[in-house]
Symmetry: D2
Subunit: 400 residues, 4 copies
């Protein structure tokens, strides 16, 4: 038996984390069904997953609020789910809120600084000091809650792109620089280091760099810990990875693929800053070339439209050439609630990586590629093939 | 070397057949690229396909026109392709038009009777007489054109549904009834019998019954001939078979799937008749349950809108439930030119089945499922898996 | 001073009536703003409207339920509004529910019979007996609630089309037939007669016939009472009456206009019956010819899709020819909540017709045309011109 | 009789001008109907318009090409119209091409400089020299072609925004500065001055400044010449001006209006430059506030997508709040061919302003507002009211 498992989220009072919390509590209480959880599908029913009721939430956050407030705002302002559900699970939300500690800012950029509660957030002099403080918080969480393992999950806002020079540093050099007061390392990487140094699997659900650096891959291998990312594939890009292979299989020539995304949640506030948006657009835009083998003109825009709240609407216009050169068009409109789409994938990732860790897997977990826009550890971009990786991994439990 | 191969189309002056003709001639002359042909994709480059320039067209038709006229109408009225292309390939079109013979009506329903040129079409007293006359036409086509093989292709209008009692008859009984003046067998089945009795592979690109009866399967096995169908998967249903598996893989619960199709070609005229439409809707609608494992409410409508000509527009509204029961929506709009989408698949089917026949394959060709809405010989409905069947079949040529 | 005004609705526990009730109570209590009420716009601020708080609801209904239940179902199942609003106004809803009496079925068709609670609904032997019973109920409502006037409002389900022979009967003959046990008069007309005979203005928000017969027009004139209809213009048809004049003003030639409507409320259940649907489609489809001066191909479909609840989605595809004969396309998708769209128009109609009645207007109120798909008393079909009629009428109060 | 009228276009070989040329010739020859011309509608049949066959084209252009080449490219690359039409009217196109003179660059911005043929375009030392050279070209055109009047039409690419300080200069000061080598006046204004100084009506179909400056208004009044602009209202903004008033009339509260435009013609190349795009977005975005009386969040994006050629596709997402605060959505997709939409309006403007000039109207022609995104001389933004201005003006000819 695996005992209780901790889930330490960076961005612990964000919309996704709040929905994860409401969902875990509501499913455990039998208030809602487990719709949208991949891990409950029949093809995975032999996998020895942790029970949803054995997950305990905690985390870091830079805004001074609570899970109850965050959940209520989603329910009322964004119509994400029935507001009465928040009342029904408020005791769990309140308990988990107490496990949340003030987060750290480091090189986080103007937009993220702008949403932080300045009297709440913590600042230390060097990256190493922050890493150690993070580790102390996580360890205290594990001890107090009597947890057998902790998974560290990045759900925080998208950071500006990091300096490309960091990518090829080795772990020795990287450690050295962590002592410098002016080392421009992304905060997402500090959280990943804190997790991996203490042997906690690290999941990066955001487009931020996190563990996607040579030095951090080296660290993970040294420690024998698994990690995975980047950027949860929830809506428009999910559909791109489903549709583009079908166009390719029919030898239909994509002339241009335009995607226009509008939404009004906190993620949108941050992505309204061009430096942060660039990180996201790159993540959404790159897979088409991989799938098609050529690079059609693409355009991906993301705009903050306050009235939409957490409802992300994407309009995609796909212009393609068919037989005899005739141009034709497919358009789709996706109207999804961002947190509602992301939260089940987050829970799935926790459950899958917890099993992987238990079985001693280390390094980047390529078979989780179907969950990510920019999967680490593989270049496979087609959804059906990514999903086959997941099914193949699960096959090992069938024979048992 | 395989020599010249005949392609005998039922519906020889229809939009699809005319586009096939323009395409074969234009590609062979180097006027257009081979975009939208699956058989030219790199994964099939070891398959010993017949060269496009070695295909010779002929067929049966119930309307007294020509390939040049049919192609010109598509180009000008429907803006399907550049009208100047018709002039450039008119010599091939004219030559092939001479290979077309008046078709037969038998139990074809009011709508098809309505579009037939009554002085052109042929009528005989029994199904057996029609079969024998079809065989004579095909044999003369092969002889005159010095063809090593002929593929028989049904591209004709959708027939009304046939009597379910026919499905389980055996071939002995079926042969007996073919002598009766009042045997309500579909014309599409007579064409399939004519093909199979003489050892020609039979491809049914329409929703009509064709060879999809126990008796005809028995005949094909007796003769050792391959056959395949039904209903080319060109647009909306193609997308259904691509998208539905992705919703299933994410455990998103489809609440309803509405598809509304509008177009204005000859196919639309025929499908405006409720009895013919029922055959088509059934073919478009059934795969969702297969893929999802449950049956959401579906609605598929097909309406004849004259102004659209050959441009088929489909609006699909997919209502689904996600995490915490939250309903969300995906919609797509597909604006495709029907003949332009169908013609390359028809050419691909000819090329693939010609190789299968050469290699001695017999019976229903299940690995061609990706081309059909209601594939014969398999219940596989997911496009990615259907396509994997095709790729796996092609693997045998890699080792060679 | 006008005192309290009664609003007697046919279909008193339907979605529209429940939303009217929630809205009147919630606005009066200051819980929500008066968004979507036309009568509160600045151009009408001199019109001596009844205060919303002075309206008292009652009515007839064929299903045994309550306003609280109907409102709660809309809020929860259809996500029409915040479910907590129902709790906040439950005392008003409960009081008004007590004013509702069992309704009458007469020649109402299979679909409406099917939704009626058979032990609740009332049946009498002749149309005249029903009319007299309706009058008794309305009079008792007025007396008990001390109302100075009553407006009778038809919000009931759409009836099958009525026999065209009724249209030209005169009132003398009509009265005679009302005594017959087998007179196939629509129930909607009986309600209108009951209203008009007692001097109550009659508003028909449905596509049913109601007062749109020569005999009833004669009755209204005899009695000097005003009446108006038919079929509230809430969504797709509203947009048609806005967009079509713009296409006409630009001399763009509409080739075809396809509208596909899906929704899942009680109205949808009834319209799933072909005889009832025909009445509605006719009402939605006829205005284009009026506006354009020619009749493009049109297609309007209405399908019951249960999962959508009260959310009506319309996809309209407008194919038009521009300069040099070039075909172009406009499409729109309308996602509106049916009751939420209808309820404010119903309240507006009550307020406008109450003023008209107070001022002695009699007969069909043509200046209310902007509220209806098939306005009585005018052939004006363009929304902007219909709205100008309303503004012009209001001008009389400016000078005062 | 009015004799032959000259139409001098700035941007004489652009897509709009080429379509105007094809259209004038093709309609005059009876090859196509006059669909999309407003001036041929019945409500204007008493207006003494110049016959289409009496219009003679000429103009300035900065690219060294011809009307035949421009028209052929539109027909073939953009599928704007049947390519065989160009052959049928090539003699008119060739004759008119000979009336085109090399244009002038002045303060035109990087993007426009980038598309100019550098050996073709003319450059002079001061604005005044350019004005005088323009006048000489126009006068020679009138003389050679024996024209009774000339209309000057700006159809050129959108310029960057001009210095706001220019707006309030008076004509005396403006004239003085025209002698300076460094006066940052837009080229569009120089063309307007050239027209007005010589008594030719000036029409600005672009978002560039043109005559929309106090000094130029003063000049027009001094000379007694009429002028009008700005920015032809062809697609998305046309629909905004049609739809927004309807939302306002229903008191539906617009929360946000997002418009995303994609297209791939020369206009798109220029608007891909942020300075030029800013001018256009401002023109498209400002009318909503005027119509609604409040300013919802708006977002208008314009992206150059090469594969679309002249087909401009706009996706608009309108988020609005209805009764009880319920948010609802309307979306539209407009697929129009830019030149095909613009050309008939250009011809109409020539015909209407020619009548106005003949009748002695001077200054800004406010009753032409329905043709423009940012109409000069009026703040009326609602299409129906703008169109009523046009109809009212035409009333004067009815009485005659």
């Amino acid at each position: 038996m695996s005992g209780r498992i901790g889930v330490w989220t960076i961005g612990a009072f964000g919309g996704v984390a709040a929905t994860v919390a409401v969902g875990l509590a509501a499913i455990s209480r039998g208030l809602v069904e487990s719709t949208a959880l991949v891990s409950v599908l029949p093809e995975f029913n032999k996998v020895p997953f942790v029970a949803l009721g054995d997950l305990v939430l905690g985390g870091h956050e830079i805004r001074d609020t609570t899970l109850v407030d965050a959940a209520r705002r989603l329910a009322i302002e964004s119509r994400a789910f029935d507001p009465r559900l928040v009342d029904q699970v408020s005791s769990e939300l309140t308990a988990w809120s107490k496990n949340v500690r003030p987060g750290f800012l480091w090189n986080s950029g103007r937009a993220i600084e702008g949403i932080a509660d300045q009297t709440f957030v913590r600042r230390l002099a060097t990256p190493r000091e922050i890493i150690d403080a993070i580790k102390a918080d996580v360890n205290e969480f594990a001890r107090r809650n009597n947890l057998s393992h902790v998974i560290v999950l990045n759900l925080a806002s998208t950071e500006p792109a990091c300096d490309a020079a960091l990518e090829r540093l080795d772990w020795v050099e990287f450690q050295r620089r962590l002592l410098n007061r002016d080392f421009a390392v992304p905060a997402s990487t500090l959280y990943a280091i804190a997790a991996l140094e203490d042997g906690h699997p690290s999941v990066n659900f955001t487009p931020s760099v996190g563990s996607n650096l040579d030095a951090i891959r080296e660290l993970a291998n040294l420690k024998g810990v698994c990690h995975v990312g980047r950027d949860g594939k929830t809506g428009e890009t999910f559909l791109k990875s489903v549709l583009a292979p079908a166009f390719a299989a029919r030898n239909l020539n994509i002339l241009s693929w335009v995607g226009h995304n509008i939404f009004g949640n906190m993620d949108g506030v941050i992505l309204d800053d061009p430096t942060n948006k660039a990180t996201k657009v790159k993540s959404k835009d790159s897979l088409l070339g991989n799938i098609l083998g050529y690079a059609p003109q693409t355009h991906t825009s993301i705009e903050y439209i306050a009235s939409l709240g957490d409802w992300k609407t994407a309009w995609d216009h796909i212009h393609f050439r068919g037989f005899l050169g005739t141009p034709m068009i497919m358009q789709f409109i996706w109207q999804g609630c961002d947190s509602i789409l992301a939260a089940p994938l987050v829970i799935d990732l926790v459950r899958f990586i917890e099993v992987a860790a238990k079985r001693g897997e280390a390094g980047e977990v390529a078979w989780l590629a179907s969950f990510f826009k920019s999967p680490q550890g593989t270049t496979e971009s087609e959804f059906a093939r990514q999903y086959a990786l997941l099914e193949n991994w699960a096959q090992q439990f069938e024979s048992a």
